[in-house]
Amino acid sequence: MNLGRSLPRWSLGILLGLVLAALIVPWLSPYSYYAPSWDEIDLGPHWHSGHLLGTDDLGRDLLVRLMWGLRISLLVAVCASLTSLLIGVLWGVTAGFIGGRVDAWLMRAVDVLYSLPFIPLVVVLTVLFGRDLVLLFIAIGAVSWLDIARIVRGQTRSLRERDFIVAARVGGMTDAQIMRRHVLPNLAGIIIVYLTLTIPSVILTEAFLGYLGLGAQAPLTSLGTLIADGASQMRARPRLLICPAVLLAVLVYCCNRLGDALRDRFDPASQSL
């Protein structure tokens, strides 16, 4: 039983370092992320000029663009995930705990929403409201809550039959109190695991939208868009693909590692594999 295991220092450190870098580097660096510089096209990593990772095909500093991309990706991922979490958990716990008709109606609504095609929906929203970052959060968040709602509902239903919930009823607690004090904390583990899976998944979704021209509008960039750009120039300038891809991989790995440790912390009786 690894009760005393502290949070994995490397993963936490790297994540914090990345967040810090995303905030500070663009501010420190003299180079902008969007202004093309025709003199400096396609430079390799060059210590003297401050282009630590070189420049891209428009002469923009790659490091700064990476950090900006990281900012946007993290922002979209966190906001969308939290939105979907909030809606999904409330929905799922209510449906799972109250059961009966309420459960049936709530979950049929989920089924209907599942059947809505995602991309056409985003296209419609974009047409109506223009290409906006906030719109992106809402669109992605509005779709991803469905998964967590189902998972949470399932967990709640099985929790509902457990003796300690019965004991809480015998102890005079109302349904709302039981949901808040007993059900939610016992869902913490699964919620955290879900979050650490969602964040990278949202980053990828956003990249996909960007590829289709629906996501963050250029010159604003995200990790996904950078990868998409780099992929199209893979033969000539592999650096443009490798750097954002490695960054994304490290980000995703650290998120998962942290999620694992957090779940152990919140669910003291569980053991990680």
């Binding site: 003796d163 300690f164 019965v166 102890g171 005079g172 109302t174 904390p185 016992n186 003291p268």
Partner: protein, 331 residues
């Protein structure tokens, strides 16, 4: 009988609906029928039966955790069914429960302190956090644990200790009745004895009324003055424990007694011989299926034609009540 009636159940009936299959109409199983019992202050009543006898259903029905198809549950003369939800929650202070699986009844995400303070938050909201903590520490010491255990989680304790925490939680708001749903079945024998001793001590100390549900007659003998025997949702026999054990009137009660383990090799042999003598003799007479008779008939060594046709009525026979067509005969 000493004192006014604390808890009374009249003619309880609990049905479980079964989902309809295909085009068939939904049918139900009757888990309990015509069950009546009484419990006065400081009394202890055992409810004994196998799995499927309805004993856990009875516990939950008494605590109003299940809807009743018929009958009433009265706490100090008050019908629990006519109370509002809020009133019912307040009455729960007097009607607490301990469970069979010591770990499942404790929230794995909470510390012992949080678990024990829940009832206080509901039933004694006027207490400050510090006062609550004091009461929790006192409650733990009462059951033989230490105040430092307050910060631990349930899974860090042994089965016996976890059950003690459950008992501490049930007793912390000072209820009048404690319903025990097979609280020692999952424990080793020596630990079982300790927990039963704890329950007996708490009962003596607080003047608590106990409703003890078990399939193990031995624990019942240790703790309860009166016993009720359930089979297939019906009462088969009820009366003072000592009388029931010494002179069982119902064949099922005799079977239960013969099946209990003896701690002595020779006594064990005698019991085994008795079990052989109680083996059912008669197979179901042809053409009887569908007619409702005594539920014990298929396993009874005394079953007669009448037993297959008519369910027996619970009637008084000396100190006990028996539901058996042949109870009056000298066997």
């Amino acid at each position: 009988m000493s004192g006014p009636l604390l808890l009374e159940a009249r003619d309880l009936r609990v049905d479980y609906p079964l989902p309809a299959r295909g085009l068939q109409r939904a049918v139900g199983i009757t888990a309990l029928q015509q069950v009546s019992l009484t419990l006065a202050d400081n009394q202890s009543l055992a409810v004994v039966g196998e799995s499927g006898s309805g004993k856990s259903t009875l516990a939950r029905a008494l605590l109003r955790l299940l809807p009743l198809a018929a009958g009433q549950v009265l706490l100090r003369g008050e019908d629990l069914a006519i109370l509002t939800a809020a009133e019912l929650r307040q009455r729960r202070r007097d009607l607490q429960m301990i469970f069979q699986d010591p770990y499942a009844s404790l929230d794995p995400a909470m510390t012992v302190a949080e678990i024990l303070s829940q009832p206080l938050r509901v039933f004694a909201p006027q207490l400050t956090a510090a006062q609550r903590l004091d009461r929790c520490a006192a409650a733990l010491q009462d059951v033989g644990l230490l105040p430092e255990h307050l910060q631990r989680h349930a899974h860090q304790f042994s089965g016996g200790q976890a059950q003690r925490i459950g008992i501490a939680r049930a007793l912390i708001a000072e209820p009048a009745v404690l319903v025990c749903d097979e609280p020692v079945s999952a424990l080793d024998l020596p630990i079982r004895l300790q927990v039963l001793q704890l329950l007996a001590a708490q009962r003596a100390q607080r003047g608590l009324a106990l409703l003890f549900i078990a399939h193990d007659l031995a624990a019942v003998r240790y703790l309860c003055e009166r016993t009720l025997v359930l089979f297939a949702g019906r009462i088969m026999e009820q009366g003072p424990t000592a009388t029931l054990f010494a002179h069982p009137r119902h064949p099922y009660t005799r079977t239960l007694l013969a099946a209990s383990l003896r701690a002595d090799p020779q006594a064990a042999q005698a019991a085994a011989a008795q079990r052989r003598a109680l083996a059912p003799v008669v197979a179901e007479p042809a053409g009887q299926s569908g007619v409702e008779g005594c539920p014990w008939a298929p396993r009874c060594n005394l079953a007669q034609a009448q037993c297959w046709q008519q369910p027996p009525v619970l009637r008084q026979l000396g100190e006990v009540q028996v539901a058996c067509h042949r109870a009056g005969e000298t066997v």
